[in-house]
Symmetry: C2
Amino acid sequence: MSVLVVGSVAFDSIETPFGARREIVGGAATYFSLAASYFTKVSLVAAVGDDFRDDHLALLNRREIDLSGLERCNGETFRWAGRYHFDLNTRDTLDTRLGVFADFKPKVPERLRKPGYLFLANIDPDLQRDVVSQVERPRLVGCDTMNFWIEGKLESLRKTLAQVDVLVINDSEARQLAGEANLVRAAAAIRAMGPSTLIVKRGEFGAAAFGNSGIFAIPALLLDSVVDPTGAGDSFAGGFMGYLARHAGDRPADDQMKRRAIAMGCVMASFAVQAFGVEGLLDLDPAAIQQRYDEFRALSHIDLA
Amino acid sequence: MSVLVVGSVAFDSIETPFGARREIVGGAATYFSLAASYFTKVSLVAAVGDDFRDDHLALLNRREIDLSGLERCNGETFRWAGRYHFDLNTRDTLDTRLGVFADFKPKVPERLRKPGYLFLANIDPDLQRDVVSQVERPRLVGCDTMNFWIEGKLESLRKTLAQVDVLVINDSEARQLAGEANLVRAAAAIRAMGPSTLIVKRGEFGAAAFGNSGIFAIPALLLDSVVDPTGAGDSFAGGFMGYLARHAGDRPADDQMKRRAIAMGCVMASFAVQAFGVEGLLDLDPAAIQQRYDEFRALSHIDLA
């Protein structure tokens, strides 16, 4: 089945201990789309400014992402600038300029209103709900959010979560959303808000998932070169949703199917962090993806004794 | 085979968001011994003061740990006090009083000089080497250390590491010891110093191991109640070494055997953190250990698709 994502397309300026890039194409919807595009047909709903040129679009065209929902508005594309610390686990935001993203009102084009899978990347929860109302109920709705909305728009966020099947957030966001330091208890509280599955992204430590079948956890791949963690979480979500859309399709995903999808999310994130920006996601060979997936399964495997 | 451990026995004063305890029995060698005692015969070499009473000893006697190497000296037992933060991942040391530990010169009693497995808990690397020189070459030498020795006694530590098979440290220590932020490259540098296997303890995120067979990583168990992380790393090491001593014995442990031993380390750490001090390690049922081990294997398991 196809995947529709709504979220940000941006220009990022990034400094890491391994180098710097200025105003390269980024944004949650971009990373998500590229990662998911290796598994199924992806459509994107987002807004960019008139500074977003054809060579920028070419990055997305290369992966045959449906851009009919990408609005070009008068003004500047959303810009973000950040600097990562020594161990890449923490970063400072140096600058955020919303540009045309400030007035973004997602409009799902007619032809995209029956998405099999829908992913609501991190935007205002009011807008996330508005998107859900524009489409026929998808097979599965995934969602991301951030501390900004948890602090500032909790009531709206709760209404959105009531319509979500899978919430994908990081561990500090999960603790904050639940008001509970223990992750297992936080997950129970969050699942009571709506999502039957909570996936907690743990950065270089992998991911944990909480669902009806219990708890699943895996470490991330250990890589000998990581240059830019930007977009890792969105690439994870893209790999996860893309894999499910392709392999579960219109059937419910069982526990093992979800575990494989989460593993594939980790694999796509691992490709993303090995290059600056979206570079690591542009030209992947399906065989290389499968090989890394197999390596990843071997990483934590213990034979029955 | 039997396990000999040399390290600290202490009185800990601990504050966590879930309560506080004053001057309870702790110390690396204590946690290690108790955890390992569920798998094999354990002997302990350490020093305590004349304030260490029979009821304190009883904790170790209960698990039938050989205490012939526990020296009772005039003076105070080593004391540590610390306070954990909200998420239990970070702590402040409030007080450290070395007491009799300041002049600790480990002496391995005659009858303990042929240990199958030897673990050098976190003490001065000069003393660690001195212990190695007192015993017949064991089947396997494990070792822990800390930032204090990496910063202050690097040359001595390097000499110790040249005699060690398995180094068990946390991730920030691994990065510091290697002078390298990337954990995979740090592991290669550390293994070049001597230990054929490096195990990196990652707290609530589990453990990663680097050896001749490549990389192994597992998350920690996700528990709905964690009250005191003190001693988790030492309990991990005890479970790991104890399992190997029992199941590999005098044969070399293959990769899968080491993986199972690491999983058992995580299991023993999980019991330790669910109660204050060593309480969680005192009365475990072997069936409960096996059950949690099975749960732990299921946590990360992905079927072949």
